[in-house]
């Protein structure tokens, strides 16, 4: 049941995008979000689309993978689309029937909001598709470490994420084992209404929690044995280093942003 779960949505590869510093990718993702929010003209989304497609090609990720990341949001996009179509006030009426009125402004607004959502999700997915969860954690820790001075627990957060990532498969396996053990004792997880099924999960969750606490205890001991004493004075084996490619990537996104600002100021 839990066998084929993948963590995050990392797509293994060794492309130029994959090899970028995770810090670069996180920062550029934020910049990209800002750029997408700056777009005020429908046609300028074309530039964003070209950018997303270009990065996708460079990262050697099949386009279908990118579309897959949009799938969980399809209802939200559809909902937002129709909400805007019907609720945007406007002058130029295209279609009217009883209280339902579709205007050109409404249609434009709806297309705008949906496109913005699509651009946001596909652009940010590119980051999670090309970066392993552990590299992301690493990048986040380093980006947040300047805030340590104001007592922000950057190292602790990263450590927690690492341990969580490490133990999710282990606990999944264990949940599977417990489930089989309970099935062998005649437990029934398949039939009955939602409440009955939820109740059926209790015999799985209780042993799982107990074991998770025991594991935590042992892990703490093992970490202490390996001289773990928080982030202080700790070095890292893998050192992140900004490369010329990172600058190039940053320039590209900055160029996209500037282009959009200029186009909006002068062309439209």
């Amino acid at each position: 049941m839990f066998k084929n779960i993948t963590l995050g949505q990392y797509f293994p590869g060794n492309s130029a995008i994959h090899r970028l510093d995770p810090r670069t990718k996180i920062l550029l993702m934020i910049l990209y979000i800002v750029v997408v929010f700056m777009v005020k003209q429908l046609s300028l989304f074309l530039l964003c689309a070209v950018f997303v497609l270009g990065v996708t090609l460079l990262s050697e990720i099949p386009l279908s993978y990118l579309l897959k990341s949009l799938r969980p949001l399809k209802w939200l996009i559809v909902f937002m689309f129709f909400l805007n179509v019907f609720l945007t006030p406007g002058e130029r009426v295209l279609f009217e029937y009883w209280k339902v009125k579709i205007t050109l402004e409404g249609l434009r607004q709806a297309a705008f909001i949906s496109l913005r959502l699509i651009m946001l999700v596909s652009g940010t997915s590119l980051m999670t598709l090309t970066t392993t969860p552990i590299a992301l954690t690493d990048g986040l820790e380093r980006l947040l470490s300047p805030f340590k001075r104001v007592n922000f627990p950057a190292h602790e957060l990263a450590m927690m994420m690492t341990i969580a990532l490490r133990f999710i498969p282990t606990l999944m396996e264990e949940a599977d084992k417990i489930m089989k053990a309970q099935l062998a004792r005649g437990a029934d997880f398949e039939t009955g209404g939602i409440i009955k099924r939820a109740k059926g999960m209790i015999p799985i969750l209780v042993p799982l929690f107990i074991s998770a606490f025991r594991r935590a205890d042992e892990l703490a001991m093992a970490m202490e044995s390996r001289c773990y004493h928080g982030g202080e004075g700790r070095t890292r084996m893998r050192v992140l280093k900004f490369m010329p490619q990172d600058a190039l990537a940053a320039l590209t996104v900055a160029f996209l942003g500037i282009l959009i600002v200029i186009m909006q100021a002068f062309v439209f």
Binding site: L219, H229, M237, R238, V239
Partner: protein, 275 residues
């Protein structure tokens, strides 16, 4: 190397886990501590690297007292500990990063960590798996990674706290072979805690524990001479020793320090050809 002086420990008021243990571990020695459940052997292990502090008595590692908090990290660097459950001692999602975890905590420069990690993985024969995720490995492989994680800290003593108890026979073999090799070839001091008498035959010296006390110490062969006493202490002699004792009762003359399959076979073969 390690010196225990009349150490006692209790987890709560009513029961005492250790009732006055004195023991010394020499440099380069392979010491096995054997005892059945509740004999206090795991408690003893945790006292060796300051995970637990004795109630009375002292534990000295290279002259450093485990009571002294300022040397706790130095002690833990010197005394590497491998635990029972292979899953619960690996911290990160990639094998080589896990091996690097200890040296990272010690604040060693990155290039040096890299070297140590590669060397440690090679020593335990796991270089091929450097980029694997721990949960895809077998139990024996995970324990070897845990050992590598300790080696990367360059300890002087390796303590195995029932490190083979959760492994299948082939995994157990893998781990024991690795440890024996480390002891023989690199002169690593090893303290192996186990409840299986048959694992102790590869040690230089065996300490038998029962009810929080050390009942016997000696060479494996000497300890195994007395299988009746072992049974009293809740331990089973290995199959080979039982065979030897049974044959001797039937009047077959065998050397009473023969404890491994090879030794018994060597003693039996001439007898067979004589018949």
């Amino acid at each position: 190397m390690i010196e225990l002086k009349n150490v006692t420990y209790s987890y709560n008021e009513n029961e005492t886990a250790l009732r006055g243990v004195s023991l010394s571990v020499k440099k380069g020695e392979f010491l096995a501590i054997v005892g059945h459940n509740g004999s206090g052997k795991s408690t003893l292990a945790k006292l060796l690297n300051a995970l637990l502090i004795p109630k009375t008595g002292d534990v000295l590692v290279d002259g450093m007292n485990t009571r002294d908090e300022s040397v706790t990290l130095a002690i833990r660097q010197k005394v590497g500990m491998v635990f029972q459950n292979p899953d619960n001692q690996l911290v990160t999602t990639i094998v080589e990063e896990d091996v690097g975890f200890g040296p990272e905590n010690l604040g060693i420069p990155p290039e040096e960590i890299r070297k140590r990690v590669d060397r440690a993985l090679e020593t335990v024969g796991m270089s091929k798996y450097a980029r694997f995720a721990p949960h895809t490995l077998s139990g024996g492989q995970k324990q070897r990674i845990a050992i590598a994680g300790m080696l990367a800290m360059q300890p002087e003593v390796l303590v195995l706290d029932e490190a083979t108890a959760m492994l299948d026979p082939s995994g157990r073999r893998e781990v024991l072979d690795n440890v024996a090799k480390l002891n023989r070839e690199q002169g690593m001091t090893v303290v192996m805690i186990t409840q299986y008498m048959e694992e102790t035959v590869i040690a230089d010296r065996v300490a038998v524990m029962a009810k929080g006390l050390i009942e016997m110490t000696g060479k494996p062969a000497d300890i195994l001479k007395n299988s009746a006493r072992l049974r009293e202490l809740g331990l089973d002699a290995p199959a080979m020793v039982l065979l030897r004792d049974a044959l001797m009762l039937e009047g077959v003359r065998l050397p009473c320090d023969a404890i491994t399959v090879e030794e018994i076979a060597k003693a039996l073969c001439p007898l067979l050809s004589a018949v």
